[in-house]
Structure formats: C-alpha cells, structure tokens
C-alpha cells in the first residue's frame, strides 16, 4: 500500500516534470510563431510541418555547440549559475494543485504532488532562490555587462517581490489559508478570487512579469544596453538552461496565477460535468480546463512582450516602489475593512 502510493507520487512528479519541460520547449516555438503573427510574418516553418520540430532542432544545436568557459570566469560558479536557475524553475511546480482527486481503479489520487500548508510561501521561497542563478551566473562571468545584468535582476526581483507579497496578503485575508490546495477548492464553480481581488490580481500579474524577467521588465537581458545581459558569456546548453528556465518560470507563474486568482481547475457548471463524466474523467477534464487557462496566460505573456517596449531602469524602480507598493498596501487596508464590516 505504502509502496504503491510512493510509486504513484513518483509517476505524478515525472508527469508534471515532463509536462513542464514540454510546455517550456514548445513555448520557445510558440513565442517565435506568435511574435511572427503579431508582426505579420510567418515564423519558423522549415523544420517539419509548420516548423513543429523547431524546438528539437534548437535543442540539438544547443547540445552540439562548443562548451566555452571564459578564461577570466570562475569555472565552478559559472556552471552553478544555470544549474541553479533551472533547478529552482523545476521544483516550484510541486505544490500546484492540478485538479481534483482522480479515482482510478478504486484508488483516489490527488493531482497535487504535495499539499504543504504553506504552499504560497514555498513558491515565494523557490522563486526568490531563482534569482541566485542569474546573480551567480552574472558574477561568475567576470564581465561588466553580465554583472550589470545580474545586479539589475537582483534589485528588480527584490523590489517587485515586496509588492507581490503584499498583494498576496490581501488574498490571504479573503481565503484565510496558505495552502494552495485549499485555495483552489474554495474557488469552486465561479467563485474565482479575481472577482474579490481584482486589484490584487493586477498587482500580482505585473509583479509576475517582473519576476520572470519578461518584457516590459526584461532589463537584466537588455540587448541594446548590455549586449546579452547576465548570459552574455554563456554558450551551448548552459545558455539553453537559462532560456529554458525563463520559459519554465513563465509556465509556473501562469499556473500560480491561475491557481490563486483564476479559479484553478474550477469552472462554472463543474458539478454537472463531474456527474456526467464520472470520478475519473471529471477531474481530468478539470485539469484540461486549468491547463487551457495556463496556456492562455502564457499567450498573454507573449502578447504583452510583442506589444510593449521595455521600461527605463529608473521608471522600473519608480513603478515598483512608488506605485505598486502603496497600491498593494491600500488594497490590504480596503480588503481588511471590507472583511471586518461586511462578512
């Protein structure tokens, strides 16, 4: 019995890991295709039908490139940087609830690797570890552009983590729990948190853009000023890991946003569907719904990237400290008053 459960957990971990890697892989393809569509172009279309094999070709290229470690770089840290980036990107998915419990062959299987009661804090911890990958890489490169990129990444993450945390506090006032599994359950049907916390969601969204270093907050890798930013000196698969980590992060933060604000695996009319499809296929359908929402968010990330130019660095800091943090605090106060007096 115990062994079977461990086996199921391992299978679940492997599946989630595989899914996030595949999503990240095809995000690179989607990014290029979507960029092309936004710019009235066609995008990659030579490798396989519609260029569907392009990510594989890119991956093969990355692996076959020469491994270069610059003379002045610190070799150990130079390798630790991208490893840490990809590691932290991969482990964040452990606490995300991907669906309701599935009943397969009389056994109830939770579609969540682990429902620790401080799930949100875990995600925060892992995400703030992620910036170490960028910082160590930029520092170890021993190159001024990389260093500047790394410093930017660090200060940007610190600034935006504050308002992200504050926007979460307002959400916690509403939900009363830190466990992602419970938060997902509470949003049953159409009771999505975004209805109760629109400002909080907006803040969280903006901060997620900043945390994942996506445009308009991609200053750490700003080509026009910093050559390649923190990964200027990187080549071959080490560069691949950095880029990959960015896409996994995007996937994870989309999943977190869906879980926290957009109803996770819940959708209006889910009770009816669950009855209709049974205990196995109903939750799996919920998983499909959640996955669709996540993909929509990823699309939104890309949509924004190909629309908005980057911020200037001082504007970025202004926005973080002078606008988002006061707004987040005001949001907490208003939410607190609302909860005290109206519920």
């Amino acid at each position: 019995m115990e062994l079977a459960e461990i086996g199921i957990k391992f299978a679940l971990v492997a599946i989630i890991f595989g899914i996030s890697l595949v999503v990240a892989m095809y995000s690179t393809y989607a990014e290029r295709k979507i960029a092309a569509f936004f710019q009235d172009r066609v995008g990659p279309n030579r490798a396989g039908p519609f260029g569907i094999l392009q990510p594989l070709a890119d991956g093969a290229k990355m692996f076959l490139k020469e491994e270069i470690i610059p003379t002045n770089a610190t070799p150990f840290l130079f390798i630790v940087g991208p490893s840490l980036a990809i590691l932290t990107a991969c482990i964040a998915s452990a606490v995300i609830p991907w669906g309701q419990n599935v009943v397969i062959a009389g056994r109830t299987i939770p579609l969540q690797v682990t429902d620790i009661n401080v799930g949100i804090l875990y995600i925060f911890g892992v995400v703030s570890l992620g910036v170490y990958g960028v910082m160590i890489g930029g520092w170890a490169s021993n190159n001024k552009y990389s260093l500047l990129g790394a410093i930017r990444a660090a200060s940007q993450n610190i600034s935006y983590e504050i308002s992200m945390g504050l926007s979460i506090i307002a959400l916690l006032l509403v939900t009363g729990t830190l466990s992602l599994g419970e938060i997902a359950q509470q949003q049953h049907g159409w009771h999505w948190n975004v209805i109760y916390q629109p400002v909080g969601f907006l803040l969280f969204l903006i901060c997620s853009f900043a945390e994942t270093n996506r445009t308009p907050f991609d200053l750490p890798e700003c080509e026009t000023e910093l050559v390649g930013g923190y990964h200027t000196e990187y080549s071959s698969m080490k560069l691949g890991f950095y880029l990959f980590a960015e896409y996994i992060n995007m996937f994870i933060s989309s999943a977190v946003m869906v879980t926290l604000y957009w109803g996770s695996y819940n959708y209006p009319g889910m009770d009816y569907m669950n009855e209709l499809l049974g205990a196995t296929w109903g939750p799996l359908f919920g998983f499909a719904v959640m996955f669709t929402k996540v993909l929509l968010f990823i699309f939104f990330f890309m949509w924004v990237r190909w629309t908005i130019p980057r911020f200037r660095y001082d504007q970025l800091m202004d926005l973080g400290w002078k606008v988002l943090i006061p707004l987040a605090i005001a949001n907490i106060v208003v939410t607190g008053i609302w909860i005290t007096f109206f519920s």
Binding site: D40, R41, N45
Partner: protein, 165 residues
C-alpha cells in the same frame, strides 16, 4: 511673423492626465492593435518557392545577345568595360576567321568576356554604353555561391542560348 505656408502647428505640452499616467488604458489599446495584426495575412514571400515579380526595368543578371540570325552581337569594342564604374568587365578580343561568319556578326569578337558579379553594382551603364545592343541586364538575380572565383561569369553563362532553327 506670419508663416509662409500657414501649415505651422503649435504644439502644447500638456501634462498627462490621470488615465494617461496610469498606463493601463494605453497598454490595453496597444494590445488591441497588436491583436488586430495577429489575424492579418502575413506579408512574407517564401523566397525559394515563391518569387516576387520584378518590375519591368529591374536590372538583373547580364546577358550577351545574339542577333536575329543567332550570331553574337558583341564586337569587343570595350566600351562597356570603359563605362563600368566598378571595373567589373574584362574581355579579350579576337579576329573572326573564315567560316565563323555564322557565329559572330562583326569581324572582331570577344573571345573571352568576363563579368565579376561581386564587383558589379548593377548600374546598367554597360547596357547604355554598348553601341551594338549586345548586352542587357534582363536576367534573374545572381545566385549565391561558395567561392569568389565562381562569381566571375564567363561567356558560358552570359551569352544567350543559341536560336534553335
């Protein structure tokens, strides 16, 4: 002073109002514009398979012409080489022998005629200089190649295909 054209427009620097400073409406507008492009037909021409039509006066690859009897028109006068600003043309003249009348129109012809396509700027001055209407830039674009020497096109590539009677 009154402006001459009356087209002068005085711009005021207005401070941004609240909604403009909030960025979000502007961002939403930008997003809707890009979304409009998302569904437009791509303007890409997929080059090797599809080709854009050249305009009528497009100057492409040179061709050395033949006259109505299939004889080469060029008389190796060298005017084209002289007029060429890029010094791309070289030639060696030869005298037409007995029995070669069906090949060359004039008594002197170009035994070697080479254009270096890497030097040529496709200005068309050779075409204009030629007194015999022997050279025209009416071909396709120059193909890519690996070696510099392969861009020196000789008579084998330049002369028009002979008329088949």
């Amino acid at each position: 002073m009154e402006s001459l054209s009356n087209k002068k427009k005085v711009l005021e620097v207005k401070p941004l109002n609240f909604w403009e400073r909030a960025y979000l409406p502007a961002i939403a507008k930008g997003l809707s514009i890009t979304m409009g492009h998302f569904f437009k037909k791509p303007v890409t021409i997929q080059y090797p398979e599809q080709k854009r039509e050249f305009s009528e006066n497009y100057r492409g690859l040179h061709s050395l012409k033949r006259d109505e009897n299939g004889k080469e028109r060029c008389t190796a006068c060298g005017l084209c080489a002289l007029s060429c600003p890029a010094e791309a043309i070289t030639m060696t003249a030869a005298e037409r022998q007995k029995g070669e009348e069906h090949l060359y129109r004039e008594e002197k012809y170009a035994a070697v005629y080479e254009i270096n396509m890497l030097r040529c700027i496709f200005c068309g001055l050779c075409e204009e200089a030629c007194p015999k209407e022997a050279i025209y830039l009416d071909g396709d674009i120059v193909q890519s190649d690996y070696l510099r020497k392969d861009f020196i096109y000789g008579k084998d590539k330049l002369v028009e295909a002979p008329l088949n009677q």
